[in-house]
Amino acid sequence: MTESSANKPANGEVCHRTTNGVKPCRNGFVKNHYHYQQQHQKSCYLEEKVHLRASNGGLYSRPFLESFEETPMLVAVLTYMGYGILTIFGYLRDFLRDWKIEKCHIAREREEQKDFVPLYQDFENFYTRNLYMRIRDSWNRPICSVPGAKVDLVERISHDYNWTFEYTGRVVKDIINMGSYNYLGFAENTGMCAEAAATVTQEYGVGVGSTRQEMGNLDRHKDLEELVARFLGVESAMVFGMGFATNSMNIPALIGKGSVILSDELNHASLVLGARLSGATIRVFKHNNMQSLEKLLRDAIIHGQPRTHRPWKKILIVVEGIYSMEGSVVRLPEVVALKKKYKAYLYLDEAHSIGALGPHGRGVVDYFGLDPHDIDIMMGTFTKSFGAAGGYIGGRKELMDYLCTNSHSAVYATSMSPPVVEQIITSMKCIMGEDGTTIGRERVQQLAENTAYFRRRLQELGFITYGNSDSPVVPMMLYMPAKIGAFGREMLKRNIGVVVVGFPATPIIESRARFCISAAHTKDMLDMTLEKISEVGDLLQLKYSRHRTRPSADRAFEETTYEDSED
């Protein structure tokens, strides 16, 4: 197993690595190496996976530290018990509503529909009605300022246990914002990006009023596309007005019936929708699990299409850079190796990673030091790190020419608004250092520092956090249903805005809070946040971790960040 034995050690013990310093042989055949694979499968699921680079043949240029501490047994049992109790009360309330003893506030069948197929009886409806509604105050909160490091909230109260909300007209000021995807802090209402956008608005206006193929093709769009291509290091790029549509409309343009899509199980809804719309066969592999992916690839090649056994027309692997619910980073070097070995295509969604990872802020490709040409389709959004809106696709020139005429979001959707374009251009130039300042560079650096600091402190405090040690998305486990609501409320009382996540976005017992670190957070803010999290963590008993790391003063604040930090 020439090729994949070189990846294999990256999945487990380091000791195997030394035995096969063979250079990975690209485009090798599929050989029968099941033995080797089986043998090592065990070691791949170590709870804490540590990947170190060997001097030769290594795929990772940085240590790849990713941890998913398992749920403590007692906590899991108590969580199920909590859901059990809430379900019983849910049935009680449904019973009361059915018998008209209490008023039903939520949509239900009308009288004349009563004898038809029930509309509101499945589990999701039950969950929304009887569990989500009770803690709904932690979500969908309107804000009324720029979502920077601090944010103002519209005050909102409910007199009937969250069935309706009343806005008091007051504003809750200066909440520390740990929820926005503002990785590099470019969501600003002052500064060069905002000024540039304002200037352009005066020149071009806001609306474009046509699609790229008709009258909506501005010179600024062309500039932006050139810049994006340069930023990514690809031949050519194309931008779209909406990130979600970039995925859901371009995948169907690229692939169709008779092809197979290999998709990570935790891929974003836009990718899933795109894959379904395409009509291609979809096979799902386990999250970030290269054995699972390789098995699917082999099966696809060996067996071909079902029944006819014709070979698949195309095999497309769809992965994300950073997974926004797990905080994990894709094992890109291994995916690329597999892709090359089995000659598949690779679609990489860098929505969260572009700008946020890598020494130059150029996403996972930069983070792993890979060649952007190895990835066939580089997709990303401007919504997160650039503080704007929209998405891009980067790749070969032929690909762009094809998409230009075939993608629905290029043909039918209005093109990107000029101030948004300008925001992206300015922020991207800033990250690249083309504006003559080092602000962008410093922000990338700052984000890496903040991330390392925040993750390390949370772990030291004894919380269970998920994901890669370099990922600015930090999920922290809450588990029990009541704690989801309590955590959100208690943090807000202490002037910190957090995002809490529960079913259906996560498996039912793995409810979590998700912090998004930003370069705009100062150390004081992070310290303050950590102090409050610790306080609430003691109050709610959230410090579940059994892998306590001792607080170490000797590990410097900046230690885990990128080495080439000069200027």
Partner: protein
């Protein structure tokens, strides 16, 4: 001072109980139903164990002493 600490501690315990059972999110009347049901059940368990356990223990002792054969004085005393 001490009573205040005690009260605080009890408040904290009750809060933990709310969170773990999940009834933190319920409306007050549902909370009272849950508490009442749980309290009744616990009370019944305690009461039944108070009433029946001594009898059962005695019967068990008798049985085992019967199995063991020898009629010790202590067992006789117990039976009387």
């Amino acid at each position: 001072m001490d009573t205040k600490n005690m009260r605080e501690y009890l408040g904290w315990l009750y809060y933990q109980y709310l969170l773990i059972t999940g009834i933190y999110v319920l409306e007050p009347w549902e909370k009272s139903i849950f508490n009442t049901v749980l309290f009744t059940m616990v009370a019944m368990v305690i009461y039944t164990s108070y009433v029946f356990v001594p009898v059962h223990v005695r019967l068990a002792l008798e049985f085992f002493s019967g199995v063991c054969g020898g009629q010790h004085e202590s067992t006789m005393a117990l039976m009387n």
